[in-house]
């Protein structure tokens, strides 16, 4: 299975910045396609009310880490 080559993920072009989507949980699938390019929503790709912002193209791992850090901050500061 696979090609045996090191796989480089394509960058994610959009990130959802809707305030209500910055908390954790909800849908497990965080990736979708917006305007023909990969898009990440920390609350779940199937959620309603995305507010897409262009990232300039960043790795998915970076978006996941940033979302996790934001959620941790929100828990600390008691944001619901």
């Amino acid at each position: 299975m696979g090609t045996g080559r090191e796989r480089v993920d394509p960058p994610v072009a959009y990130e959802c910045t809707a305030p209500a989507h910055q908390r954790g949980e909800a849908g497990p699938d965080k990736l979708t396609v917006h305007e023909g390019a990969w898009a990440f929503c920390p609350y779940g790709a199937r959620s309603e009310g995305h507010e897409w912002k262009a990232t300039g193209g960043v790795p998915l791992a970076m978006l996941r880490l940033a979302a996790a850090a934001r959620q941790k901050e929100q828990v600390k500061s008691g944001v619901k």
Partner: protein, 135 residues
């Protein structure tokens, strides 16, 4: 001429378009794959979950199935198990997923290929071509 058409062109007849079935509950991903693979010369059908795929395959046999893992109603794991049980599996299954450890899951399922999301369309086309060439 598309790569799929070139691969299937015969000397005296029209090209046969290999059929690809996409199983994913994300409409945007289905649309992306349908547009790209149609441009490549494949005949593409999309369904939102495994149960719909099994229903469709009662009368339409694809050459390759691109299958997400996490879906409502019937997920990718169940689909692969059911597909092998109810049908003489004729199609190669390629798992497309962003699930952690999805590649391990794909290996355990014994499918023909795995592609992590996000993916490059070229990678999808290359794996489909490899499956068709091997069949």
């Amino acid at each position: 001429m598309s790569r799929a058409s070139r691969a299937r062109e015969t000397g005296d007849g029209p090209a046969v378009r290999p059929r690809v079935l996409v199983i994913d509950d994300d409409d945007a991903i289905c649309d992306l794959l349908r547009d790209a693979l149609t441009d490549e010369g494949y005949a593409v059908a999309t369904v939102p979950h495994g149960a719909a795929a099994l229903e469709l395959m009662k009368h339409d046999q694809p050459a390759v199935i691109l299958c997400d893992l996490r879906m409502p109603i019937m997920d990718g794991w169940s689909f692969v198990e059911q597909y092998r049980r109810v049908a003489q599996p004729a199609a190669s299954v390629i798992i497309l997923s962003a699930v952690r450890d999805a590649e391990e899951s794909a290996k355990r399922l014994g499918v023909a290929g795995f592609i992590g999301k996000p993916f490059e369309l070229d990678e999808v086309v290359a794996q489909i071509e490899r499956c068709i060439a091997a069949s």
